[in-house]
């Protein structure tokens, strides 16, 4: 009986090796199957933390973020040490960052920070908080969060540059109210801005000309249908261009982080 028990334990260890090999070879579907098989047969629950953690990682790699969070939470429940607990909580934060539930990620960062057991891990918490801010498109807050780790942190520069490269949506709209087309020019859309200005000048001339020639009704109709249409269009365009420009700037930085950044990513 004793021999059988030891043999069974060997089988479980072999099974764990098999699952880990599949995981290392990025065969995540098969890895999950084998981890689940191990979990089912491991009645002593010896590997419960490792299994749930790895299954979570597999689901995360397969972009099944809800499932990943579920298994990381199970890992958290089965954690035997503070380190294991911290690691599983950090994985939940990283998964929340990836699935764009940044508010939840930030909330979890705050909770971790308040936990005295993890006082020595503030840097890591701030690092992931910075990433959560990046995915929330709040580059200024991200820069501040990275600065808490190290004033020369390489991501501070990127976050600051991104924030600086962005345009103000309000400013783009306001200058379009004053001079139609100016907002588009401010966001770098010169041709569209000049066209907008031209249409406004022409339709404005027609409106005023109609009033000058005592064709009041013509003036009202052209002013309302043509001039105001172009005037409103210029303001709306300025707003849209500013949003597009900011999105482009953010995406460029995110592409850099995805393809060229060498540090740990969510």
């Amino acid at each position: 009986m004793f021999v059988f028990s030891v043999k069974a334990q060997d089988h479980l260890s072999i099974q764990l090796d098999l699952a880990n090999n599949l995981f290392n070879n990025k065969q995540y579907y098969d890895a999950i199957t084998e981890y689940k098989r191990l979990q089912f047969f491991d009645s002593t629950k010896t590997f419960n933390y490792e299994i749930n953690y790895k299954i979570g990682e597999c689901y995360k790699a397969g972009a099944k973020y809800d499932d990943a969070v579920k298994y990381f939470s199970l890992a958290e429940l089965n954690a035997r040490t503070d380190n294991e607990l911290f690691d599983s909580k950090i994985q939940i934060i990283r998964t929340n960052i990836l699935r764009r539930t940044s508010d939840r990620a930030l909330q979890l960062c705050d909770e971790l920070e308040k936990d005295e057991r993890f006082n020595g891990k503030r840097d890591e918490i701030n690092y992931w908080r910075g990433w959560a801010f990046i995915f929330a498109d709040n580059w200024d807050a991200a820069a501040k969060s990275f600065a808490k780790i190290n004033s020369n942190h390489e991501l501070i520069k990127l976050a600051e540059q991104t924030e600086k490269a962005k345009v103000s949506v309000t400013f783009a709209k306001v200058i379009s109210y004053i001079l139609p087309g100016a907002g588009a020019i401010y966001t770098g859309n010169f041709l569209s801005g000049l066209m907008s200005l031209g249409w406004n000048l022409l339709s404005g001339y027609w409106t005023i000309n109609s009033f000058v020639e005592n064709r009041v009704f013509d003036g009202i109709v052209v002013g309302e249908l043509v001039w105001l249409r172009f005037y409103r269009g210029a303001i709306q365009n300025a707003e849209e261009f500013a949003f597009e420009k900011n999105l482009e700037v953010s995406n460029k930085s995110l592409r850099y982080l995805q393809n060229e950044y060498k540090g740990i990513k969510p």
Binding site: M1, S5, A8, H11, F40, F41, D42, S43, E213
Partner: protein
């Protein structure tokens, strides 16, 4: 004597205390200790099946069935495919239980369900009417499913009495309503809409229920026409032609827009009807009994 036996008892208890946990550990494994044995695959498959991880459960059942044929496992394999939407494979496996199986009746019902949920309702009706795999226990459910299928595709409905008799009294009035809507849909004619807009700009849109759009079209066409005339009268040739072009554009665009609006109206009516009908049957699980093993 007493003093000699006491230590023996203690020793025995100690040995038992050590051995019992060791032997009960890993009790999930069967005696061969091989996690991948067919029996263990079946047990693991059943665990996954209960956990609703049907894709992995199907793999385990398939492996088990290489060693031994078992109707319940075949049923579970088929049902796993059914649950993950692989209806063709589900139907094929349910078919294997039609004869000489205690699950024959349930398999027949599930086979028809698998065909039904493939959304090939014509094939489903052909199979249901051929009655080659008729079920004595679930025949009425299959027949009801056949009548439901008429509501879900573009085939002409049979007579009202035939369709409705399969359904419980509690839903009769709702089904009569669906039947009437399906048989006599409240469609708008694109031709009528276009003709109306040709006569009075915007009238076609009002006919299709787009009252705001219709009035706007009328005003836009009238105003641009008026502006063209006044600019010609004021000898502003360029502006005159510009507004003439705009008026023609609004007029022609409105005729086209009215016909399109009628088509959109019809599509919306159809979409809403399909959605409502689907939701009605889905909420009632298509009046199907729950079958599982």
């Amino acid at each position: 004597m007493i003093s000699k036996t006491k230590p023996n008892k203690k020793l025995l208890i100690t040995i038992l205390l050590i051995i019992i946990p060791l032997t009960t550990a890993n009790c999930q494994l069967t005696t061969d200790g091989n996690i991948l044995s067919f029996q263990n695959r079946l047990r693991f498959g059943n665990y996954l099946y209960k956990d609703q991880d049907y894709l992995r459960a199907a793999d385990e059942f398939k492996e088990y069935l290489r060693s031994e044929n078992n109707d319940t496992v075949v049923f579970r394999l088929a049902n796993s495919y059914f649950q993950i939407g692989r209806y063709t494979e589900a139907a094929g496996n349910f078919k294997g239980l039609f004869f000489n199986s205690q699950l024959s009746e349930e398999a027949r019902l599930m086979f028809y369900e698998s065909i039904f949920f493939q959304n090939d309702y014509k094939l489903f009706r052909v199979l249901a009417e051929e009655r080659n795999f008729d079920s004595s226990l679930y025949g009425k459910d299959i027949e009801r499913l056949k009548y439901i299928s008429y509501f879900l595709d573009n085939t002409d409905l049979p007579s009202e009495n035939i369709v409705l008799k399969s359904f419980p009294d509690s839903v009769q009035s709702r089904l009569i309503n669906f039947y009437q809507q399906k048989k006599f849909p409240q469609h708008k004619s694109p031709t009528t809409a276009a003709i109306l807009s040709t006569l009075i700009p915007g009238a076609g849109k009002i006919y299709t229920g787009e009252i705001g759009d219709g009035i706007t079209s009328l005003i836009a066409t009238a105003l641009t026409t008026y502006l063209a005339i006044t600019n010609f009268n004021a000898d502003h040739q360029f502006r005159g032609w510009l507004f003439s072009g705009l008026a023609a554009f609004f007029y022609a665009g409105n005729i086209y827009g009215s016909a399109a609006s009628a088509q959109i109206y019809n599509a919306r009516i159809q979409f809403n009807f399909d959605k409502e009908v689907k939701l009605f049957f889905e909420q009632r699980n298509y009046f199907l009994p729950k079958v599982d093993y």
